[in-house]
Symmetry: C3
Subunit: 247 residues, 3 copies
């Protein structure tokens, strides 16, 4: 059972964060809010997302799972005004979701949760280096790197300290070095890992809207980006596996 009202912009943040990685997902609904964890089709990137009941204008739910077509939901959200409240209601059998706003009422068939990939297990990670930066700085760096390469290295030099992003193409390269003025060093440790820009570009569009991103790094380890949505009533973690550097 789910019956809730949410403003369009908050719902859009939720859907956009998920759609950067997957086209469909299994949404866990409970008394305290909704959550999802999904990996992309190539098993390279993972999203974990929680949205508290407090993010909703009204919220009433019991524990259930629903299969959501994220791409379809994006299309519907294109019809909703910026500040319209959206009413969400699950039907008795849990097969259809009603999405209402103004005088409109969409009825959406849900996906059979059995056809959606099992929830991935959260990996046990030891990422000793932690920095915080604005989403805009991170997204701009991702876009700048894309001009010359399809991969980017994130490095932390604990001696300066400095956070460096390096993208090396066949003939050109770009380097961005951020010091204490531009980035907050929460936990200083040596780090260096290489990542595919394909995934980062999609994540970057979502990340770019966030005031503050926590970046967790190791040596040839995944990177994690942690940020909040819905005025801190929601939490998103993007995890991206590293690429092996060819010598």
């Amino acid at each position: 059972m789910l019956k809730a009202t949410i403003d369009a912009d908050t719902f859009r943040e939720l859907i956009d964060a998920i759609s950067a990685l997957v086209g469909e997902c299994r949404l866990h609904v409970s008394e305290s809010g909704i959550a999802t964890r999904a990996v992309d089709t190539s098993n390279v990137a993972m999203i974990s997302l929680e949205l508290d009941a407090a993010a909703f204008q009204t919220y009433s739910a019991t524990q259930t799972e629903i299969g959501l077509d994220i791409a379809k939901m994006k299309n519907i959200l294109g019809m909703v005004g910026k500040n319209d409240p959206i009413d969400l209601e699950l039907d008795a059998e849990g097969r259809k979701l009603s999405v209402s706003f103004k005088s409109y009422r969409y009825s959406i068939s849900l996906l059979d949760t059995k056809t959606i990939r099992k929830d991935p297990n959260p990996p046990t990670l030891n990422l000793p280096a932690v920095v915080k930066v604005t989403g805009e700085v991170l997204n701009n760096a991702i876009k700048a790197a894309s001009v010359v390469s399809d991969k980017i290295a994130f490095k932390i030099d604990p001696t300066k300290p400095a956070f460096t992003m390096i993208a090396e193409g066949d003939t050109d390269n770009i380097k961005l070095e951020l010091g204490k003025d531009e980035i907050e060093f929460v936990q200083v440790a040596e780090a260096r890992s290489l990542f595919s820009l394909d995934y980062l570009k999609d994540m970057g569009k979502v990340i770019g809207r966030s005031n503050l991103i926590e970046i967790q790094l190791g040596i040839d380890h995944p990177v994690q980006f942690l940020f909040t949505i819905a005025q801190d009533s929601g939490r998103v973690t993007y995890l991206l596996a590293p690429r092996i550097e060819a010598d």
Copy 2:
């Protein structure tokens, strides 16, 4: 003979209204103004349009017919500033139309009116239900329906009264119900007909700019949309044939 001046925005309204349905048309020119009636290539939609001499800044004409390439005229209008006056002048043989604005002078070859489909006869229709709504509401409903389906049903329930638009896709559907607060019921009667969204989407772009649209409906009958252009100096009627509902 035709020699007239019209402001660019009014001329654009005229051309846009026609181009939603047909790429060329036969324009009837007379002392009192211009008019056209045309059906689209699939014989599903019809436009009737009249523009009074009063819509022009200056207007002088005798009875004649000209064949107009609407798509070409749209391209030329793309070069005209918002408020530029446009001078239109037919040459002596009625083969070329001169379109002048600022220091520019286009000379356009007209189409041979014999090569353009004959004017359709206005069908005799009995559409008992009549409502009025803003163009924006109608166009938004058309766009919202397009997300889930390629057809839309317009219904009037005389008991409430309520005007309902329903689009049913393979798995999803959308319903929009408008009551007395959002729509004016001019003639209340039962109505229900199904229409192709393909045609409605093109009409919707034109209709969406109009303050008030009159909708005339019946049961499994065509729909008619009536609205004015050129500060009420022009009248447009779109007619759309119904689709047969497959069970």
Copy 3:
């Protein structure tokens, strides 16, 4: 050797002016500034460009030649803010150009100047008719002509005097006649030449931003467009060969 700082907008003017004609060029660097001369791949259009040292915020150079990938430079400039200063520095061997702005540092491999076409010789031209007009008027005329044709004739009638642009398509034509109110007649002489709009459209995008364009014309001769960039610290000449008029 080259070490210079230039503001992003000025550098963008330089790159845009070159990229309208060629995708790569040989840049001549000297103590007094930079210069290039290049013809397009079809040998129909030529650009000559000089940018004085005064156009740079700081400038220090010795004589050298570098091969620049213009398309790549455009991509990088897409990442630079409107008013960011850009640091340019050639490495010791003259093989790589460092392009830095804010905390970013791109390192670009230069092209081997031996692989770039030799500098064209400046043709000896006798173009007796000279007029001056705003870039906007010229660019709008080019766009208006493109609606009906793929070529345009520039004419000067010394008796009126009048500068006329005529584009004749298969069925339609457009004529733009400019008199003393809209154009400055610097040297009045009879002129009439026909040009391909393909090239003019690309030039027009650059020319359209310029306050004043000098147009030099003859009879069945090339046209030259002269204008300044970088607050008059740079000079651009576009030369376009005429098309032979088929009768």
